[in-house]
Amino acid sequence: MAAPVVDGWFPALALGVSLLKCLFINAYHSTDFEVHRNWLAITHSLPVSRWYHENTSEWTLDYPPLFAWFEFGLSHVAQHFDRNMLVVENLNYDSPMTVLFQRLSVIFTDVVFIFAVRECCRCVQKQKGSRDVLNRPSFVLAVLLLWNFGLLIVDHIHFQYNGFLFGFLLLSVAKHLQSQHLQGALLFAVLLNLKHIYLYVAPAYGIYLLRSYCFTQDNKDGSISWRSFSPLRLIALGSIVTSVCALSFGPFIAMVLRLKLLEEAGLPRASMTGGLVQEFQHSVLPSVSPSITLICTLLSILPAVASIWRRPRGARGFLRCLLLCALASFMFGWHVHEKAILIAILPLSILAVESREDAGIFLVLSTTGHYSLFPLIFTPAELPIKVGLMLMFVIYSFTALRKLHSGQGTLLHPLESVYLLGLVVVAIACEIIFPLSPWQQKLPFLPLLLTSVYCSVGVCYSFLRLYVSLLRQEEKPKQL
């Protein structure tokens, strides 16, 4: 169900956030900046066969080949800014022109994300009789996505290309919501070849497409009709996926094995602070291995996936299942970065502007998830920015969603409100009290531990509530 075309407010929002991103060009950037500069250098200066072998720098290429081709394309623009950044030996090279180029490349590639958000806004149902632009679901969704705190902090300060990648994910979701499944599958295949972490949500795609696309009809009671299986559609899907993979992996068939080995070894990408990562045996709690986490993840998503197989609820059911896969992988996966919470928060925004219950879950998950990103930006100079942006997003999301779903009671249960207020206490303790206290030297990871533990409660709670909402919908089969 398509809403009317977005008016002038959408370009205004997009332009505003892009200009804001430009102001963060000189802000702190993490080692991810050097990672991407290194990849620019590798893809530009070396022949294709050496891309995955090169290890002068510790930040070896560990994304799928399509991303390497993307960096290759960027490097051709980079050479006009500062040739020296493309020299592999120039480790940690960050001249002003290099910083400018890298930052601008993130801002420009965000155009994919902006396009995807526009498509998602089109899919969201229009509320009846809302003349006020500020109160339309499409407007609220646009703000929640374009001005998402997590994306701004992670992409434009910490430095990554998540906006670009999420653009593909959201565009694929939007295409499924618009019933253009082949395009959605194509976009997801491309996304998988850009960053393999999205493999975690592949079960949702696989089961949904198999059940709702390859089986063209359901029986009257909603159960599967085996006779309506369309081999043609299956072949179409299969060929799309294989051709994208072939295109991307063509030169690298042999490299795939090496990538798999690197991932299982829990790879030297020290993405957590302090480098206190990788395999270590716990002294008190039972030790965890990669295979156990994989089993846990698969077990936790099994009911969700089975549910959309037995009783498909159209694209929105698929979206819910995707969210559950993403959250399950965040909670149980091996070597997950806190940034992965964004894979759950962003798609949940779409559901939040449509349903009151989802809005409540969104408020808890987004506030908790965003707060868990605070330790990522630990420099004092960026503190006002991260606090200011967080407050902006919290105030806006609470008031806008409350207004959107007004007249049906409060969005949050009192206990949930208390939990979220507790975040303020944790924030003050970690950002202000702790640095000035005597424990700073002895227990430097205490604030990180406190933040992680406190936020994990919120994330687990949201996971359970989403699961309940999915399974509860199954009991009463609805018209899609």
């Binding site: 200009l19 430009c22 102001l23 963060f24 109160n135 200011g388 902006m392 105030i395 008031t399």
Partner: protein, 491 residues
């Protein structure tokens, strides 16, 4: 959405933008021996903390006035003292006498930027919020849009958070004065303005309108009776405020005299830094008397009709007149004209936006010197786009909305031409010219025989814009009262 949440989001966005700008360089960064305004402020913290009050404004062995000697009134010195106390707690090296000269470090920069933000949050931003919510017309959405554009004015952000100054304090106090007078709290308003005056002497640009408005109001209330009591109350407030500010210097008349000598230096040169005023562009001597006689029309009109609308216009006209025709003016002084013009944002959006953009543009050479090109481009684009979009400036160009009154017939001999269309095209051409000059100043190297070509071009363009705005505001002030709907509110 509720107004309070929209207002909070706007204020937070304003703060984030300010802090984003502050991540960039400041004036005189890494440029010994004199550095720049940033070092001047740090030096004043050092001087006020380590030396007794009697020595602050004097040239002694401990206090070399040639190295950024104090040349603002006492309130600036007290503010520096407070900051110095905090600096001493964090890191004493920052304010150590003599040894801390030219001290630069990331932590110190963070501290200095934080002092600017704190001052803004306490003084300037609340004044702006209250002004836009209570003293502007229109729906709550329009008020919030006005607030957002007011907070987004690039000139003040770039100077305070980029170049490094504390204009937010003096302008904030002046704005509190305007706010109070608008709400009818005359004594409080006078006190606020006196504080502004005692923070930066350049607030004298705004002094005459304040004086005439209050005097006019007293006369209107009746010279014998209520008016007289009001006059006495205001006079007493002013005297007490001045006395409190100058208390440490009143014990010895030579002290007070020295302070006055420092804050009104007549010995400095005329052409400091190629400023956009008549001196630079016309290069002829204009007698102060003749200027005063032409300006006096502004004040007389305000005296006769002390309405808030006339007051705002008089502030704008007066500060523009002083900027255009005064002795030894720095380009940053355009901010003193920009503040009163911002007050007219919801009434005359197009001209105000135009002027504010021109004022930011006129300071471009300063920004380039400080390495603030990216923030300049970003904030200018954001301001232009959002103010035009949110306030629908280009649509409100009809004759009535431009408030030209009967004068438009004088200016436009061909009545068939559409005024709105002409104004819009002039605006587009002007913005294009400013953008073009900005690009040229950055991208091209000036010819060797004209090394200051671009700053002079920028300065001249700015001057033409300011002159045009000055003429326009004069016409508006004299063309009669605004429409009935507005008049009731403003009286």
């Amino acid at each position: 959405m509720q107004t309070w949440s929209l207002v909070s989001v706007c204020v937070l966005l304003g703060v984030v933008v300010r802090w984003g700008v502050s991540l960039n360089s400041y004036s005189g960064a890494g440029k010994p021996p004199m550095y720049g305004d940033y070092e001047a402020q740090r030096h004043w913290q050092e001087v006020t903390y380590n030396l007794p009050v009697q020595e602050w404004y004097f040239n002694t062995t401990e206090n070399d006035l040639n190295y950024w000697g104090l040349d603002y009134p006492p309130l600036t010195a007290y503010h520096s003292l407070i900051c110095a106390y905090i600096a001493k707690i964090i890191n004493p090296e920052w304010v150590e006498l003599h040894k801390s000269r030219g001290y630069e470090s990331p932590a110190h920069k963070l501290f200095m930027r934080a002092t600017v933000l704190v001052a803004d949050l306490l003084i300037y931003i609340p004044a702006v919020v209250l002004y836009c919510l209570y003293l502007t017309d229109g729906s709550s959405k329009k008020k919030v849009s006005t607030l957002f554009c007011f907070l987004l004015y690039p000139g003040l952000i770039l100077i305070d958070y980029g170049h490094f100054q504390y204009n937010g304090v003096s302008l904030g106090f002046a704005l509190w004065g305007v706010l109070a007078l608008g709400l009818g709290w005359d004594a409080f308003g006078s006190m606020a303005f006196c504080l502004a005056l005692n923070y930066k002497q350049m607030e004298l640009y705004h002094a005459l309108p304040f004086f005439c408005y209050l005097l006019g109001k007293c006369i209107k209330l009746g010279p014998m009776g209520r008016g007289f009591f009001l006059l006495v109350r205001i006079a007493a407030t002013v005297l007490v405020t001045f006395a409190l500010c100058w208390l440490p210097f009143l014990s010895d008349p030579s002290q007070a005299l020295q302070v006055v000598r420092r804050i009104f230096p007549v010995a400095r040169g005329l052409f400091e830094d190629k400023v956009a005023n008549t001196w630079c562009s016309l290069n002829i001597l204009i007698k102060i008397r003749s200027i005063l006689s032409s300006d006096s029309q502004i004040y007389l009109r305000l005296l006769m009709k002390p309405t808030f609308w006339q007051f705002k216009l008089a502030l704008a006209n007066s500060s523009l007149a002083f900027f255009l025709f005064s002795y030894q003016v720095h380009e940053k002084s355009i901010l003193l004209a920009a503040l009163p013009v911002c007050l007219l944002l919801s009434d005359l959006p197009l001209t105000v936006i135009w002027f504010l953009q021109a004022s930011t543009f006129s300071m471009l050479p300063l920004f380039l010197k400080d390495g603030l090109l990216v923030p300049y481009v970003v904030t200018s684009l954001a301001f232009l786009f959002f103010s035009i979009y949110l306030l629908s400036a280009l649509e409100h160009c009809s004759e009535e909305e431009l408030r030209l009154g009967a004068y438009h017939k004088l200016l436009f001999f061909l009545p068939k031409l559409d005024l709105a269309c002409i104004v819009r095209w002039k605006f587009y051409i002007s913005v294009a010219a400013m953008a073009g000059l900005s690009i040229v100043s950055v991208a091209l190297v000036p010819p060797p025989h004209l090394p200051d070509l671009f700053p002079v071009l920028v300065s001249t363009t700015g001057f033409l814009h300011f002159l045009g705005t000055f003429i326009y505001f004069n016409i508006v002030q004299f063309s009669g009262p605004p429409s009935r709907k507005n008049q009731k509110k403003n009286d």
